[in-house]
């Protein structure tokens, strides 16, 4: 199987031959930081463009089509506009927290990037508690939103932030429980182990109906955790104008905007890793010929393909459904998702113990 180990190893060897180990670490870190930021920028531009195109075609429109072929440079132009805009801070706002909040949200999104395996042997940090790390860090982004809502000194922002708090705290539960099903099946918290465990088939195919249910619950919870419609109560355009980022403009708004899309990418990447095998190609039992063809497709394409499929699914939700009300949102979690996922976890544990899965 094609692997990126060769590249990363050769870079490390080349550096080790010339520099002391401290400098190697520093330079490698710098490379990673540059790559991460480049990935962020690229993802932001692509995802925003993608969202606008998906929305447009679902709404029988064309979407951006003036700047570059099919309007792909539209988002770059928008970003440029946002950079040039004045970054206003309201008079009554808590200046420090107001300016701090976008960075909290952004830093959390960046931290989440660490344990994700983008391709075979291409991972920033192969931490052995990867899944735990992700569920721990991802719940921090709500702090940024709460800070933003509180510091804005705006009632809409405050209401939006409070909604967001209630929402993320409760949806964290079912997201965590559906992640646990895979952990139970794999027996490991490490991302690489989870991917390797799906070499002979992805969990969604191997794990019978309970894993499919867990997958659906995960997608719902992921949509809610990223504050996307139909769970976009924190910004609820028609109710709270823009919710927690009502008062933000210019680059500070752009950071929130970017973080939202990065978060979508990350939750979808996690979903793809856990349920759809990450970078693992699609293998069918003992069709060696077929499996061989599949192996020729680079692992990074597998990973991004699956991730973008999930992203498309979340976008599809957004452009089809109306928004839930705040109490219905919590009803859905506590009355439906949580009991179902608890029961589901029980079933999966049974499957894992009895070794019923393929």
């Amino acid at each position: 199987m094609y692997s990126l180990h060769a590249i990363t190893n050769s870079v490390q060897n080349w550096l080790n031959a010339r520099l002391s180990s401290t400098w190697v670490l520093i330079i490698e870190s710098l490379i990673v930081i540059v790559l991460a930021i480049a990935l962020f920028a690229a993802l932001g531009l692509i995802l925003v463009w993608l969202e606008r195109k998906v929305a447009a075609h679902m709404q029988i429109r064309l979407g951006p089509n003036r700047l570059g072929p099919a309007g792909i440079f539209q988002t770059s132009a928008d970003t440029l506009k946002l950079i040039l805009k004045e970054g206003l801070t309201p008079d009554g706002a808590d200046k420090f927290l107001f300016n701090f909040a976008p960075f909290v949200v952004m830093i959390v999104a960046m931290l989440l990037l660490a344990p994700i395996a983008f391709a075979n042997g291409f991972q920033i940090w192969n931490i052995n508690i990867g899944v735990l790390y992700i569920s721990a860090i991802s719940s921090l982004s709500v702090i940024g939103i709460l800070i933003a809502g509180w510091a804005s000194n705006n009632k809409y922002s405050l209401l939006g932030a409070m909604r967001s708090g209630a929402q993320i705290v409760s949806y964290e539960l079912s997201a965590g429980l559906s992640i646990l099903t895979i952990v139970v099946l794999t027996g490991s918290l490490q991302m690489t182990d989870i991917v390797q465990a799906q070499q002979n088939g992805w969990w969604i195919f191997k794990g019978h109906i309970p894993v499919i249910i867990a997958f659906i619950i995960f997608i719902i919870a992921a949509t809610a955790e990223t504050n996307r419609a139909p769970f976009d109560l924190a910004e609820a355009e028609s109710e709270l104008t823009a919710g927690f980022h009502t008062e933000y403009s210019g680059m500070k708004f752009a950071l929130f905007f970017l973080a939202e899309y990065i978060n979508i990418f990350i939750v979808c990447a996690i979903g793809a890793t856990l349920f759809l095998g990450g970078w693992m190609p699609f293998h069918m039992g003992n069709w060696t010929q077929f499996n061989h063809v599949m192996d020729f497709i680079p692992s990074s394409i597998w990973f991004f393909g699956k991730t973008f499929f999930l992203i498309f699914l979340i976008m599809w939700f957004r452009w089809t459904f109306p928004r839930l009300r705040v109490d219905q949102l919590l009803n859905l979690e506590w009355k439906y998702l949580l009991p179902v996922s608890l029961f589901n976890l029980l079933l999966v544990t049974l499957i894992a113990i009895m070794n019923w899965h393929f």
Binding site: I60, R61, T320
Partner: protein, 158 residues
């Protein structure tokens, strides 16, 4: 029984959500259903309806003649004082004084395009034009003189 209801409720909800997604998905994969009109690009093929009320115009024929007698019926019919008809007295060949149009002032910026002036005109001298691109940089250019310089009233129009 409670469990059965609970599950059927979830199934029904999922089905209703799926119907909606099917519809948006249906349009997503059919780019031919897009209804966007790319306006400034399709200017050449864009044809407004004949009766479309874009602005008041005064048609002149090839001899630079119009049909306005200067009767001010349009001025009286206009609800917002958009039209100002300035008349003068001309001498007819029989040496009689006759009222004629001097200047037909039209304030496009005040016009609501209701068409009452065209309806009121007894000689059909003014019409509604189809032009709708009225944006200008200077508001004063919206005050227009509708009769062309040197134009005369057509023979036989009373």
């Amino acid at each position: 029984m409670f469990i059965k209801e609970y599950i059927s409720e979830i199934a029904k909800a999922t089905k209703s959500l799926w119907t909606g997604m099917k519809l948006t998905g249906h349009y997503f994969v059919r780019p031919k259903t897009v209804i966007t009109q790319q306006y400034p690009d399709n200017r050449d093929t864009l044809k407004m309806a004949d009766r479309f009320r874009g602005e008041v115009t005064m048609p002149h024929d090839e001899n630079n003649q119009h049909a306005c007698t200067g009767c001010t019926a349009c001025e009286l019919a206009c609800p917002n004082a958009t039209i100002k008809v300035i008349t003068k007295f001309e001498l007819t060949p029989e040496n009689k004084k006759k009222k004629a149009l001097d200047t037909f002032v039209y304030h496009l910026d005040m016009c609501t395009l209701c068409g009452l002036c065209v309806d009121a005109c007894p000689s059909g001298a003014i019409q509604m034009g189809q032009n709708f691109e009225h944006s200008v940089y200077d508001r004063s250019t919206l005050t227009k003189k509708l009769n062309k310089p040197g134009s005369k009233i057509r023979e036989g129009v009373e």
